[in-house]
C-alpha cells in the first residue's frame, strides 16, 4: 500500500508540530521551575571597607561572567556569609548554587543558615533536611547540618523530631557527640525532665566548647532538683570557666579565609590577648599597622598589649605614633598615662635610679591622665592613674582625692579600692585603709594576692599603733 505525498507531508507537519509542542511545553516548564540563572542581586557596597568590597565585587563579577556556575554563586554567597553581610542575598546565592550543583550538601545547609538569620526557621528546616539527606549520601560528611536541623526543630518546639536527630548523631559516634548531648539536655529541659537533663549535660563538662553553658544550665537544673550544693558548685564553675569556644563547623571553616573585615582581625587580637597569647596578637597588629599606616588603632592596641610583655619602651613608641595620628583619642592618653606610670615605678625599683627621670615620667603620666579626664570625667581608671602619679610626685592630698574619685566612678574594680587603701594607710588613716583593702580583697580574683599582702602590712601597723597608744594617731 502506497502512501501519497500529501499524506507524507501531513505526517511531516504533524511530527514537526508535535516536536514544537513538546519544545514549547518544555520551555514553559523550564521557565516555571528550570535552572534559570538570574542576575545576582545588586549588593550595596557604599561605605564598606575597600578590601571587603573588592572581594564581594570580584565574586559578583564571576557570577555575571558565568551565571550557570554553581561554584560562582556559592563563592559569592560564601564571601557575604564570611563577612556577615546580607542574609537575604546569601540565601539567593545558595539557592542558585543548590540548583546548579544539587548534590552538594553545603548549599542547602548555608541557605538554611541564612533563613535562620532572616528569622524564618520553618523554611530553614526544609533546606536543612535537604542538606542532611545529601550528607547521608556521602561517605564522610560532618554531622553539622543534622545538628543544626535538630537545634532548629528544638527551637520550633518539635522536641521529638529534634531528639531523633540528636540521637542519630550519637549513633554515628562522631566527635560532635558533645553537641548532641548538650542538645538532648535542652530537649529534656524543654520537657521539664530535670534528671534526664542533668545526665546529658554532665557529659558536656569536659568540653571547652560548651562547659560553661553546661554549668549554667546544670545550676538551674540542680536548683529545681533541690540539690542546692550542686547548684552552688555549678554556679561557681560557670563563673570560673573561661568563655566557651563555641561549636566547630567544618563547612564554615572552609570559607573563613574570605573574611575581610578589619573588626574580625581585631576580634582575633582580643581573643589572643584574653588567652594570654600576646606575641601572636602583637604580630597581627603590627601587620595591620604596616597595611594601614594612617590608622591609629593598631598602635593604640600595641600600646595596650606590649606592656603585658614587659615592653614599655616599644609601647610608648607606638602610643606616640597613635597620639600623632589621633590626638584626641581617650585610650591613647590613658594608656600613655599607664605606661609612663609603670616605667616610673619600675625605675624607682632600680638601684641608683635617677629620681629626676622618674619624676619626669610621673609628671608625664599625670598630664596624660588629666587629658583623659578632660574628655571623660567618669573614667575611674584614669583617676586611679592620676592618683598614683600624684602620690609619687608628693601631692598626697590631691592623690587621695583622685583615688577616691576612682572608687566613686568604678566601685566594681578591686584595684581602685586597693590603691586607695594603700594611700590611706600611708597617710595614717588605718581604719579607712582597712575598709578599702577589705573591699579590694572581696572584689579581686582569688589568685590576686596583693590585697591580702597589703592587709597583712596594715595589720602590722595596727598592732604597732595599738602598742604605741592613741597619742600616736596622725
Amino acid at each position: 500500500m502506497s502512501v501519497s505525498n500529501a499524506q507524507k507531508r501531513g505526517r511531516k507537519w504533524l511530527f514537526l508540530a508535535a516536536a514544537l509542542l513538546l519544545t514549547a511545553g518544555g520551555l514553559g516548564a523550564y521557565l516555571w521551575s528550570g535552572p534559570r540563572a538570574p542576575e545576582p542581586p545588586e549588593i550595596p557596597l557604599q561605605g564598606v571597607e575597600p578590601e571587603l568590597a573588592d572581594v564581594v565585587r570580584k565574586a559578583r563579577a564571576a557570577v555575571l561572567d558565568d551565571p550557570r556556575s554553581g561554584k560562582a554563586w556559592a563563592h559569592l554567597g560564601r564571601a557575604l556569609l564570611a563577612n556577615a553581610m546580607h542574609a537575604e542575598i546569601c540565601f539567593v546565592c545558595f539557592r542558585e548554587a543548590e540548583r546548579l550543583d544539587p548534590k552538594n550538601p553545603r548549599w542547602p545547609y548555608f541557605a538554611g543558615g541564612s533563613l535562620l538569620t532572616m528569622g524564618k526557621p520553618e523554611e530553614a528546616v526544609v533546606k536543612l533536611r535537604r542538606a542532611v539527606e545529601l550528607c547521608d549520601r556521602l561517605e564522610r560528611a560532618p554531622p553539622t547540618p543534622r545538628l543544626l536541623l535538630a537545634e532548629t526543630l528544638l527551637s520550633l518546639g518539635q522536641n521529638d523530631a529534634a531528639e531523633g536527630q540528636f540521637r542519630e548523631v550519637l549513633n554515628q559516634q562522631t566527635a560532635e557527640d558533645v553537641r548532641a548531648q548538650f542538645g538532648l539536655g535542652l530537649v529534656a529541659a524543654a520537657r521539664a525532665d530535670w534528671p534526664q537533663c542533668r545526665s546529658h549535660l554532665e557529659t558536656c563538662l569536659g568540653s571547652p566548647r560548651v562547659r560553661q553553658k553546661a554549668c549554667t544550665q546544670l545550676a538551674l537544673v540542680c536548683e529545681r532538683l533541690e540539690d542546692r550544693a550542686s547548684a552552688d558548685r555549678y554556679t561557681k564553675m560557670a563563673a570560673d570557666f573561661p568563655k566557651d569556644l563555641g561549636w566547630a563547623d567544618p563547612f564554615v571553616a572552609e570559607h573563613a579565609r574570605l573574611g575581610r573585615r578589619r573588626q574580625d582581625r581585631y576580634r582575633a587580637v582580643d581573643e589572643l590577648q584574653a588567652d594570654g597569647r600576646y606575641a601572636e596578637a602583637a604580630e597581627i597588629l603590627r601587620q595591620i599597622a604596616r597595611e594601614r599606616p594612617d590608622d591609629y588603632l593598631p598602635h593604640v592596641l600595641l600600646g595596650r598589649i606590649l606592656p603585658q610583655m614587659g615592653q614599655f619602651e616599644a609601647a610608648e613608641e607606638h602610643l606616640n605614633k597613635a597620639r600623632a595620628l589621633a590626638p584626641d583619642k581617650i585610650q591613647v592618653h590613658y594608656l600613655m598615662s599607664l605606661v609612663l606610670l609603670e616605667k616610673g615605678e619600675a625605675l624607682l625599683r632600680t638601684e641608683g635610679a635617677d629620681p629626676a627621670k622618674a619624676r619626669a615620667l610621673f609628671e608625664g603620666s599625670a598630664r596624660a591622665a588629666r587629658r583623659v579626664l578632660a574628655l571623660k570625667a567618669d573614667y575611674g581608671f584614669a583617676h586611679m592613674a592620676l592618683g598614683r602619679s600624684l602620690k609619687h610626685l608628693g601631692h598626697a592630698k590631691e592623690s587621695l582625692a583622685a583615688l577616691r574619685e576612682a572608687v566613686h566612678c568604678n566601685p566594681e574594680y578591686a584595684d581602685n579600692h586597693l590603691y586607695l587603701g594603700i594611700a590611706l594607710r600611708e597617710a595614717g588613716d588605718l581604719p579607712g585603709a582597712r575598709s578599702y583593702l577589705e573591699q579590694a580583697q572581696l572584689l579581686a580574683p582569688p589568685q590576686d594576692r596583693r590585697p591580702a599582702e597589703e592587709l597583712k602590712r596594715l595589720g602590722e601597723l595596727e598592732r604597732l599603733r595599738a602598742k604605741e597608744g592613741p597619742s600616736s594617731k596622725t
Binding site: W13, E49, G119, K213, A231, D378, H408, E412
Partner: protein, 570 residues
C-alpha cells in the same frame, strides 16, 4: 502553517500559565479584627518631638534613646506626662512636662517647672521619696542623675546634691523601691557601659555605626539607700547613701539597661532584676539584711533555653498563665528572640518562649520598651513591644524617618494573650501602633482617659512621642486599684494586689518602673472579662502585712488604704 501557529500559541499559553502560577513571595495578610489602639497624639495636643542631637558622630547615648513617665504630678486625679530629651548639654531642647486638663488634652507646663532641663537624658523614675504626698522624679543621664523634689505647687526643685545622690555613671532605667522596708523609697539605677566616645566602631552596612556594648566594660548597678529626713523639721530634706558596694551590687558589673524591683522569691522582700545588654541578666535576691545575692543563673533568668546570654533591654512582669506567679518577658535584638520565662515553682523560672507563640510574627524587631497589660480586659494579659534597631539595616524599610534614622526604623508589635502563657500577634490589626516604622524605645502604660482601657505612650528616637488611646471594642469588665499607705502618705510601691471575681483570681505587682527607661501609672489594672462584680481585693503591703477589702461593682477605679481593710493572719 495555521496548525503550527495554533500549536505554538497553545504551548505559549501553557508556558505563560506555568509562569504566572510560579510561587510568589508571602504577603502580609489584612487586619482581621478591630484595633485596640488609635493614635490620639495630635488630638490631645501632645506635640513632643524627641531631639537625639546631631547625627553623624554615632554618639552611643543617642542610640539608647529617652523615656517617659505617666504620673499625676499635681494630684488632680488626672495622669500627666513627662518626656525626656537627648539633645545634649548645649541643646535648646529641654525635657517637657505636660499637664492633663479636664477635657483630656495636654498642656505644656514645662517652663518654670524645674523639670525642663536639657542634656543626654535617658530614663525616668517616679516615687515620693520624702513621703510628703507629692510624686518626685529621678532622671538618669549619660553623665549622672538628677533628683527633683515635687514642691506641690507645680514646680520641682533639683535636690540631687543636697540629697547626696552622686552617680557619675551612665544611667539607664531606674526604680524607686523600699528594699530595706523602712518606709523610705530607695533608688536603684541600671547603669550601662564605661563608654569612650572616641572609640571607633565600624558598621556592617556603613563604614561607621553605633558601638555595640561589648566594646566597653559594663558598669555596676547603683543602689542608693534613703536615710530619711535629716532633721526634725517637717520640711527637712532626705539624704541618700550610696550602698552599691556594701549591698553587694558592686561586685558584678554588666551593661544594664532594664530594671525591675519585685519580690521574686516570695519572702516578702523586694529583689532586683537587671536586664544586661549582651550579657546574662542579674537577679539580686534580697537577703533582708541590707545585702543582695546574685542568683539569676540558678533561678533560670540569666540565660535563654539554649544557655545563651542575649541583649537584654526592657522587662515586662506579670502573671501570663494565671497561676498566681509573676512571669518575666525581656526584649532582645531582632537577630535573637525575645524571651518569656514562666515562673514555677515559686522563685524558679523556665524559658517557654518557643511554646508561647511570640516568635510567630509577621516581622521581628529589636525590642526595647515592653509591658504586659490586659488591653481588651478579657482577663488575660496581653503584651506590647516598642521596636527600633540599634545598627543600620541593609536598607531602610522606607524613608519616612529621614535619611539617617530610617535605617534604624522598625515596627512595633502587640500580642493578645490567651491566659495560658500563649500569645497571638495582633500587630496587623493595630496599624496605628504597629503600622509605621519608628526607632521605638520607651513604652509606658496608664489609663489617661480613665475609661478602664489601658493606654500606651511610646517614645522613639528623633521622633514624635505618641499616645495611643485604647479603643478595643467589646472590652470586658475591669477594676483599677490604687494602693495607698496613709502612714507614708504615698502609693505603696511593692504591694501585691489579688482580685477575686467570677470564680477567678488575678494578681498584680505594684511598681511603676518596668519596661525600659519609663515610669507607668502606679495602679493595678485588672481585666475581669465577663465578671461584672468583684468578690474581694486582697493586698499584701510592702511591709508584709495582708489585708482584705470588700469587692463590689466592677468597672471602677478604687483606692485601698493601708489599715482600712480586714487584716489577714499570716
Amino acid at each position: 502553517m495555521v496548525l503550527l501557529l495554533g500549536v505554538l500559541l497553545a504551548a505559549a499559553a501553557v508556558g505563560t500559565l506555568f509562569w504566572a502560577l510560579r510561587p510568589q513571595e508571602r504577603e502580609e495578610s489584612a487586619p482581621t479584627e478591630p484595633p485596640w489602639f488609635v493614635d490620639v497624639t495630635d488630638q490631645v495636643g501632645l506635640d513632643f518631638v524627641h531631639d537625639a542631637g546631631p547625627t553623624g558622630d554615632y554618639f552611643m547615648p543617642q542610640q539608647v534613646g529617652s523615656g517617659a513617665a505617666f504620673f499625676d504630678f499635681d494630684n488632680d486625679g488626672l495622669l500627666d506626662i513627662y518626656l525626656l530629651q537627648n539633645g545634649g548639654p548645649k541643646s535648646a531642647s529641654t525635657n517637657r512636662l505636660f499637664r492633663q486638663t479636664k477635657d483630656g488634652k495636654f498642656e505644656d507646663v514645662s517652663r518654670g517647672s524645674g523639670l525642663d532641663i536639657n542634656g543626654h537624658n535617658m530614663g525616668v523614675a517616679v516615687g515620693d521619696f520624702n513621703n510628703d504626698g507629692w510624686p518626685d522624679v529621678l532622671v538618669t543621664r549619660y553623665n549622672g542623675v538628677k533628683l527633683f523634689l515635687n514642691q506641690g505647687n507645680g514646680t520641682f526643685r533639683d535636690v540631687t546634691e543636697e540629697a547626696g545622690l552622686n552617680c557619675p555613671a551612665w544611667g539607664a532605667s531606674a526604680a524607686f523601691f523600699d528594699y530595706d522596708r523602712d518606709g523610705w523609697l530607695d533608688i536603684v539605677i541600671a547603669c550601662y557601659v564605661d563608654y569612650d566616645p572616641t572609640w571607633p566602631c565600624p558598621g556592617i552596612f556603613k563604614d561607621r555605626d553605633y558601638c555595640a556594648p561589648k566594646n566597653f566594660k559594663g558598669r555596676v548597678s547603683r543602689l542608693f539607700r534613703n536615710l530619711g529626713r535629716q532633721g526634725a523639721a517637717a520640711k527637712a530634706g532626705v539624704r541618700f547613701e550610696d550602698v552599691t558596694v556594701k549591698s553587694g551590687l558592686g561586685r558584678l558589673p554588666g551593661p544594664g539597661l532594664g530594671v525591675l524591683c519585685a519580690d521574686i522569691d516570695g519572702d516578702g522582700w523586694p529583689d532586683i532584676l537587671i536586664a544586661n545588654d549582651g550579657e546574662p541578666s542579674r537577679l539580686w535576691i534580697n537577703q533582708r539584711d541590707g545585702t543582695f545575692k546574685e542568683e539569676a543563673v540558678r533561678r533560670g533568668l540569666a540565660y535563654d533555653a539554649s544557655g545563651n546570654a542575649q541583649a537584654g533591654m526592657g522587662i515586662a512582669f506579670g502573671d501570663v498563665n494565671g497561676d498566681g506567679l509573676a512571669d518575666v518577658f525581656v526584649t532582645h535584638l531582632a537577630e535573637e528572640t525575645h524571651t518569656l520565662w514562666l515562673q514555677g515553682p515559686r522563685g524558679l523560672f523556665v524559658d517557654r518562649t518557643r511554646q508561647s507563640g511570640v516568635l510567630k510574627s509577621p516581622w521581628r524587631g529589636t525590642g526595647f520598651g515592653t509591658m504586659f497589660g490586659d488591653f481588651d480586659n478579657d482577663g488575660h494579659l496581653d503584651l506590647a513591644i516598642a521596636n527600633g534597631a540599634v545598627s543600620a539595616r541593609a536598607k531602610p524599610p522606607d524613608n519616612s524617618l529621614g535619611p539617617f534614622w530610617s535605617w534604624y526604623g522598625q515596627r512595633n508589635q502587640v500580642f493578645a494573650g490567651d491566659g495560658s502563657g500563649r500569645f497571638r500577634d495582633v500587630s496587623l490589626s493595630n496599624p496605628a501602633l504597629c503600622g509605621k516604622i519608628n526607632v521605638g524605645r520607651g513604652l509606658a502604660c496608664g489609663d489617661f482617659d480613665r475609661d478602664g482601657g489601658l493606654d500606651l505612650l511610646v517614645t522613639s528616637i528623633a521622633g514624635r512621642a505618641r499616645l495611643y488611646r485604647n479603643v478595643a471594642s467589646a472590652r470586658g469588665h475591669w477594676l483599677s486599684v490604687r494602693t495607698f499607705d496613709p502612714a507614708r502618705n504615698r502609693d505603696a510601691l511593692g504591694a501585691v494586689v489579688k482580685v477575686s471575681a467570677g470564680g477567678r483570681n488575678w494578681v498584680r505587682w505594684l511598681h511603676s518602673a518596668e519596661s525600659y527607661l519609663c515610669s507607668s501609672e502606679p495602679r493595678a489594672h485588672f481585666g475581669l472579662g465577663a465578671a461584672a462584680a468583684v468578690d474581694r481585693i486582697e493586698v499584701t503591703w510592702p511591709d508584709g502585712a495582708r489585708e482584705v477589702f470588700p469587692g463590689g461593682a466592677a468597672d471602677r477605679r478604687v483606692e485601698v488604704r493601708k489599715g482600712a481593710g480586714a487584716a489577714v493572719k499570716p
